[in-house]
Amino acid sequence: MTKAKIALMKGNEACAEGAIAAGVRFFAGYPITPSNEIATIMSQRLPQVGGKFIQMEDEIGSLGAAIGAALTGIKVMDATSGPGFSLKLENLGLAAMVEVPLVLINVQRVGPSIGMATSPAQGDVMQARYGSHGDYGIIVVSPSSVQEMFDLTIRAVDLSERFRVPVILLADQVVGHMRERLVLPPYEEIETAYRTEPSGPPQAYLPYRGDERGVPPIAKFGSPYHWYANSSSHGEDSFQATSDYAISKKLIERLTNKIENNKKEITEVREEFLDDAKIVIVAYGCTARSARGAVLKAREEGIKAGFFRPIVIWPVPDEELGQVADTARTIIVPEMNMGQYVHPVREAACGKAKVVSLSKVGGLAISSNEILEKIREVAKSG
């Protein structure tokens, strides 16, 4: 048996390696900071494993190419950052509608607009969930370390195939550019799901009839199963249904509920010191690192602080957050934006605990001390 390898890598490098390990064999991209390393490494690594890399003419085209490639039956990825992410939203909505499994990396930088290309932010949290027009379900995963840039890229690939849905790995410049030690398991031992393909006679194939979870089987382009990957409103047979309100309603509900109703299979959280915690920090991404440090320091000072980290941030782990709110008095949500994830946390807490935002913008990460200060302040006010 091959042994695990220890390596020192940048987060973006670990993400690219994770994709290779997960069986991604197609990457389409467009240059943008601070996600560039992912594309450059993929351009080198993919042909080595028989895969394909293409740099398209723009951000829209690169997600378009990834969608086309995914439909031929291979695992695909695209990576970008803020301004590029905005451009991708058109095709992200298309991928959600057509139900194309793919992984899109967003290494967040400061916005709005061009903002600050080399400084971190967490300003795309709501955009990742709700950015494209209309209603649909989507999965968003938030890594906090170089190891997780590897592990969660693999998880993202797995989830995208399981639910026939685009999955976003919402990283940030800190996690993308920092170097850390990581453990690389032997790639042949890494297992990721592969989409369910249809069986039975091709004439009976219904490309948009969900299984018990709401996920339909998907046929490879070029197989005997002919179908329309249809961006217009469509019935289970994939044919146009742009004047049928009942069909449209059923489709939109299924697209949303195949994610929202299957949280048990999707949700992933880390919980520490919650048993007696009166003040709980809910943090994700790079901010979760300083948040955990702050909780440890507060504990040393005798403050009963707890730590809750959603790893899959969308769909919201509302059941788990609700339990936190049952015992905690105050929940603090530190994030590098004007207060975005604080909203679903407040909704999940449902008035059972006070939810306060600790917001920081402008390109500097939130330090442990800043969070500790907030914990002390809350503890004092009782």
Binding site: A65, I67, F221, G222
Partner: protein
């Protein structure tokens, strides 16, 4: 779906006839469409199809062909789809010389949305968003494709249906990026607004405003003014993208030349 008198059905039929003549495996033909009147052609066929967002057909077609070069990828787009919102994808597909066949249904306006002015609307023509006449000169999509590096460029017109079938057939057979500009009348909006007569009048008018590439050779620039040249305009051999990339894979895996 198409209005009575529309020429789009002739273009779609020509595509089907060309594919039939080539004897292709129907499982391996993938039809990619953008959005608009042209991009509903896939509703009438039984090929596996992808309907993309407006203008993005060539980007996704590139992904399909690159991921699986064994597939025959045929793209249908309108003139606005191809040369306005999708213009960037068009020129880069030409430059990349990927073996995809693009058929542009060129009806000189945005038909589906009510006849707005488009990138091929002639100067001075009327459109719903050009009520005083179009103030912008049009693109010649064939010259654009040629300049961008397409290795097969042809123009057909629905009045000359046998020629159109042959042009598409030759385009699909061609190794590399092929573009066929198919001139087709939009009777309901463009025709009515510009008083171009009945569907029959609009089909017959193609005898006047188009001229074969053979005839055009003996005509002066003055005589060619305002005429669209039909036939094969470019046909040349050049390295095809997916084949070039196969060499890169071989090199990266240490099996290089």
């Amino acid at each position: 779906m198409w209005c009575p008198g529309c020429g789009n059905g002739v273009v779609a039929m020509s595509m089907c006839r060309a594919i039939e003549r080539l004897g292709l495996d129907m499982d391996k033909v993938i039809h990619v469409a953008g959005i608009g009147c042209a991009a509903v052609a896939h509703w009438y066929t039984t090929f596996t199809a992808l309907q993309t967002a407006h203008g993005r057909a060539l980007a996704s077609a590139t992904g399909i062909k690159f991921a699986n070069p064994d597939l025959t990828v045929v793209v249908t787009m309108g003139d606005g789809d191809a040369a306005a919102i999708g213009g960037n994808h068009l020129i880069h597909a030409c430059r990349r010389n990927i073996d995809v066949t693009a058929i542009v249904y060129n009806n000189f306006n945005y038909g589906m949305t009510g006849g707005q002015v488009g990138p091929t609307t002639p100067l001075g023509s009327f459109a719903s968003s050009a009520p005083y006449g179009n103030a912008e000169p049009p693109f010649d999509i064939c010259r654009l494709a040629e300049a961008a590096g397409a290795t097969y460029v042809a123009r057909g017109a629905v009045y000359y249906v046998k020629e159109l079938i042959s042009l598409i057939e030759r385009g699909i057979r061609h190794k590399g990026f092929s573009l066929i500009d198919a001139v087709t009348p939009c009777v309901t909006v463009f025709g009515r607004r510009n008083k171009l007569g009945t569907p029959g009048d609009m089909f017959k008018a193609q005898r006047k405003f188009t001229v074969s590439v053979e005839k055009a050779r003996d005509m002066s620039p003055e005589e060619l003014e305002g005429k669209l040249i039909r036939g094969v305009l470019v046909e040349k051999d050049a390295p095809e993208f997916t084949e070039e990339y196969a060499k890169i894979i071989a090199q990266a895996q240490g099996r290089g030349e």
